[in-house]
Subunit: 271 residues, 2 copies
């Protein structure tokens, strides 16, 4: 197989990034590795996250990837800089692309960010935003109920709406935002509900879509986009049991699997 | 002065890219050079455009730029690849960023592109789109009245609307588009009128906004974004007479000049 884009995540959230990569770059091969066995990374120490991330990276490097996408907020916050310094292939994370898209979009400079408790307490989004534009007002809020809800498959309907409404009430009451970053790769799965609750005057930015967009930018810049004609092969690996992983993969890719030549889902043994 | 982002254009159109760079990257210094003396580039031969573009590039390299933005569609089509190969600093053009943003946005795969006759006949946008996604349907149309209208300062009102309506009628009648790329750096100045005419169901993509976004991506990727605190200095140069150039610069930057410490507009002698 020609060189592929490698995607790593602590579990299934990064599949929304993989989905966007396949939608925006439909000629590229993809190799996805989700560390479902040791998910979530959020509550783990920096050293543990670094160790697990490097194990995943080494697994993918053996499969000859041409670029690495760190599709996990925690792993991005803890390892992006060292991966970029040490690997010879381009590496991007999920935080900066969302931040940059929000800066492009905002008119009033008031940007909201929602994510897991780990991501919000890391302060990575406000830092990324203020690195570029010091005068941005950031309203960051952890949404601890969202990931468990998504992982139970509750993506729309009354129950989803109620959870999202209650969670986002403090953010809505401030009422200044014109842009909201979905700072967790699970959240694009409930984007419609979030958009409905936060209101149509707020642009909701999916860090998954934006990360795929920037992967395209970086690959083109390195003259590494595949520009010929082919139907790609994708490989999905998980470190834990495959039943749930396969089901979620199928759910996310239901509209596009027809375009795949082969999709293999295999168990990865990396630890 | 610390190293700046260099922007070149055949004239004033690239000022919309400069404006977006200043909006999205407000800590960066900018050096803009418009070849107003020899504008437009559209009807010129490839060799002439290459010669003039290299003269502009050499002028900016002497001023120590850290990245080059080719904010002119014609110059991008004719020189981007060789500039990227020969310069040691990152170089981007205006075509690929707009194409990539359209691919991210489209749901139905029907993308419209409008530009000058030169840009449309070069086929650069359809090629950039199909390089990435072969199944995109591209509806490209030249709008020869738009640049002269913008250069006369007619940006809104009945006259502008009538010209835009008549020009875009063939594109509107096909009625399939969900995304329209403004493939000319003058067009963001009449974006509101174009949006009104084409309809709210079509997302209008400004290649100026998208080029600024990708400049941010590439600079961050090269660890070359300025992340400290400072008020930037910008320099604007034109090869022709300065009166009109200064007036248009002022028009485009009217909402943001308050943030500039100094803006110098000088005559560039490059030929």
């Amino acid at each position: 197989m020609d060189s592929a884009i490698g995607v790593i995540d602590s579990g299934v959230g990064g599949l929304t990034v993989a989905h966007e990569l396949i939608r925006q770059l439909p000629k590229e091969h993809l190799i996805y590795l989700g560390d479902t066995l040791r998910c979530p990374y959020g509550p783990r120490s920096k050293e543990e996250v670094r160790k697990f991330t490097w194990e995943m990276v080494e697994y993918l490097l053996r499969k000859k990837i041409k670029m690495l996408v760190v599709a996990c907020n925690t792993a991005t916050a803890f390892t992006l800089t060292e991966l970029q310094e040490e690997l010879t292939i381009p590496v991007i994370g999920v935080i900066q692309p969302g931040a940059r898209a929000a800066i492009k979009n905002t008119n009033n400079g008031h940007i909201g960010v929602i994510g897991t408790e780990g991501t919000i307490s890391s302060n990575a989004y406000p830092e990324a935003l203020k690195d570029i534009r010091s005068d941005i007002h950031v309203n960051a809020q952890a949404c601890p109920m969202f990931v468990p809800m998504v992982e139970q498959g509750i993506l729309s309907g009354d129950e989803a709406k109620q959870v999202v409404e209650e969670t986002l009430r403090p953010m809505k009451e401030k009422n200044h935002l014109d842009t909201l970053i979905l700072g967790c790769t699970h959240y694009p799965l409930i984007k419609d509900t979030i958009q409905e609750v936060i209101g149509s005057h707020v642009t909701v930015i999916s860090s998954s879509e934006e990360t795929a967009r920037e992967t395209s930018t970086i690959l083109e810049f390195h003259n590494a986009l595949y520009k010929g004609k082919r139907i790609p092969n994708h490989q999905f690996y998980a470190t834990g049991e495959l039943a749930t992983f396969s089901k979620i993969t199928e759910e996310i890719f239901k509209t596009s699997t027809a375009n795949f030549q082969t999709v293999s889902i295999e168990k990865a043994v990396i630890c």
